[in-house]
């Protein structure tokens, strides 16, 4: 780790906490920095020149105003944190994204909409003489169900006669995962999660053999692309750029290529299979009385101690409680393990224009780990979670019985998702008694007596060790108990 340089004490702002973002090092021309809760970006001399040209365009401020690019402004020199003064030609400040998520946590329609936004931005930039240096899915984030382009450092003036440098990355992190799901029905999330640079043409080509190669987009973007990569593996990109330019590659051709990719992406669709989770609410054991009681309990828990900023709804299912939470909180992250259910929720929220609920695909028994270089280039879910309230409704039994996770571990994890909330944090958790029909169904697949500690008194004892229990309510059915607790100061 390089210690911060000692900088002149005058005309800069001292900071108490500054760290470079561990996921922002690939393009040395600029770097994202976190300073006192602000998101900054330091630009080297060349990147600063590009920035000056960019802010002078018509399209850039317009796309920011439309919410398609994250809000960005240049800091006045006196506002630059002391340790960074002199290191960068220009320092930018970005709008804060409410919760950082990664493409392997998005559903099919989310990845498709993110890809379409990336293409739209590029198709707007190219006629104005700009391009993006890359084409990564990690260039995008979300405000609720609205995708937003965040990588301001990616814009640079286009050089005439050159194809888009980000095409390969776009294929690997967006187009190929979409093809995989649209044409083969395979969930792309595990592929993206295990490979930070995405899927390679050669890998995909093996999956699209036989007549599958004739599916939309596959022949050109996968088979031909892979063949060309192999054929020109030894040719320098600089020389090929020159040759393409000499052969007549033009800006119009770049736009024609982008149009064709856009048209393809719009054609790709995936209809979620009939999943038992889709009609979970209809088939589960709740009576109307239980549901009403539960909704009231959750609403009270979220409102009685001030408005929470970030709520995590774990095991969100169709998003009923996420919607309820969004009425009482600034932002809600709805986490659900079934990609089909998340996709449906995303499409519904999107149609409604909801901007404060972010649906994510994640198995709670296998939360997103850290990834990339040193395991920190992409942060783990736990490292990103700094919630004010956590809803764990009808999930503990799935983890404890379905996945054999010990109850103390589950509670430690839930409380750990509110690392800075202290006494203002709220854990709303439902305990499903062993005699509840749902628990009985799960226990039927396990040897008798395997979970001797799975009962309400033990759960309550463990919860009380970690939280001050503010209230408990047994639902009318008599087989489920709801708790709201505030984390104890364990310092």
């Amino acid at each position: 780790m390089v210690p911060p340089s000692s900088a002149p004490a005058t005309s800069t702002t001292p900071e108490t906490d500054l760290r470079p973002d561990p996921g922002s090092f690939r393009d040395p021309a600029n770097r994202v920095l976190h300073a006192d809760g602000q998101i900054l970006r330091g630009l080297g001399p060349r990147a600063a020149e590009d920035w000056q040209a960019l802010v002078g365009t018509e399209f850039f401020p317009r796309l920011i105003a439309e919410g398609k690019i994250c809000g960005t402004e240049a800091l006045e020199p006196q506002a630059v944190p002391a340790s960074q003064a002199g290191q960068w030609s220009t320092v930018l400040r970005h709008e804060r994204i409410p919760f950082v998520s990664y493409p392997y946590e998005w559903s099919f329609a989310m990845l498709r909409d993110a890809a379409l936004l990336h293409l739209e931005i590029l198709r707007t930039a190219v006629p104005a003489g700009f391009t993006t240096k890359d084409g990564s899915a990690y260039n995008l984030q979300w405000r609720g169900v609205e995708p937003v382009f965040i990588d301001i450092g990616s814009f640079e003036p286009a050089r005439d006669g050159e194809p888009w440098a980000g095409y390969r990355q776009f294929c690997q992190t967006m187009l190929y995962p979409l093809l995989l799901q649209a044409h083969l029905g395979l969930d792309f999330q595990p592929w993206l999660r295990s490979r930070i640079d995405g899927l390679e043409a050669g890998q995909l080509r093996k999956l699209f053999d036989g007549t599958r190669r004739f599916r939309a987009g596959v022949l050109k973007h996968v088979h031909l692309h892979d063949a060309m990569q192999n054929r020109f593996a030894g040719a320098s990109t600089g020389a090929v750029r020159e040759q393409l330019k000499d052969a007549g590659f033009s800006r119009e051709l770049v736009l024609a290529t982008l149009r064709a990719i856009d048209k393809l992406v719009r054609r790709l669709d995936w209809q979620p299979p009939q999943s038992h989770w889709s009609d979970y609410r209809e088939t589960c054991t709740y009576s109307d009385a239980d549901r009403e009681q539960k909704e009231e309990f959750v609403a009270t828990a979220l409102t009685e101690a001030g408005r929470p900023g970030l709520v995590l709804d774990l095991g969100a299912n169709d998003g009923t409680y996420s919607r309820l939470a969004a009425r009482h909180a600034d932002y809600v992250v709805a986490v659900e393990s079934d990609p089909a259910v998340v996709d449906q929720l995303y499409r519904r929220l999107s149609a409604e224009g909801e901007r404060r609920i972010l649906p994510l695909v994640m198995d709670l028994a296998d939360p997103s780990p850290g990834g990339g270089w040193r395991g920190v280039e992409r942060a783990s879910f736990a490292a990103r979670a700094d919630a004010d309230a956590v809803l764990a409704l009808a999930v503990v039994h799935h983890l404890a019985i379905g996945r054999n996770v010990p109850l103390p571990e589950i509670l430690d994890w839930l409380v750990g998702l509110m690392p800075t909330a202290g006494g203002d944090g709220r854990l709303v958790v439902e305990f499903v008694h062993p005699d509840d029909p749902m628990a009985v169904r799960l226990l039927a697949n396990k040897p008798a007596g395997i979970f001797p500690d799975y009962h309400r008194d033990e759960f309550e004892r463990l919860l009380a060790q970690r939280c001050t229990i503010v209230r408990r309510t047994e639902l009318a059915s008599g087989t489920r108990t709801l708790y709201v607790g505030t984390p104890r100061d364990r310092g």
């Binding site: 690939r26 393009d27 040395p28 021309a29 240096k133 890359d134 050089r159 050159e162 194809p163 888009w164 440098a165 980000g166 095409y167 390969r168 990355q169 294929c171 050109k220 973007h221 031909l224 692309h225 063949a227 060309m228 990569q229 192999n230 054929r231 020109f232 593996a233 040719a235 320098s236 990109t237 600089g238 020389a239 090929v240 750029r241 020159e242 040759q243 393409l244 000499d246 052969a247 007549g248 590659f249 119009e252 051709l253 770049v254 024609a256 290529t257 064709a260 990719i261």
Partner: protein, 49 residues
């Protein structure tokens, strides 16, 4: 040499974009192919190793 981007765009990935771009692009790709082919024949006698 031209200044290159931080990201290796991939030579094959650059060329394939011409084909994706439609008829005009295919012509560009064909021209590039032809030039690479003829330049190889031209250079061959002096570049044998």
């Amino acid at each position: 040499m031209k200044d290159l981007a931080y990201l290796d765009a991939g030579s094959g990935s650059l060329i394939v974009q011409a084909v994706v771009g439609g008829v005009a692009g295919v012509a560009v790709a064909a021209k590039l192919y032809w030039r690479r082919l003829t330049s190889r024949f031209r250079k061959q006698p002096s570049e044998q190793d």
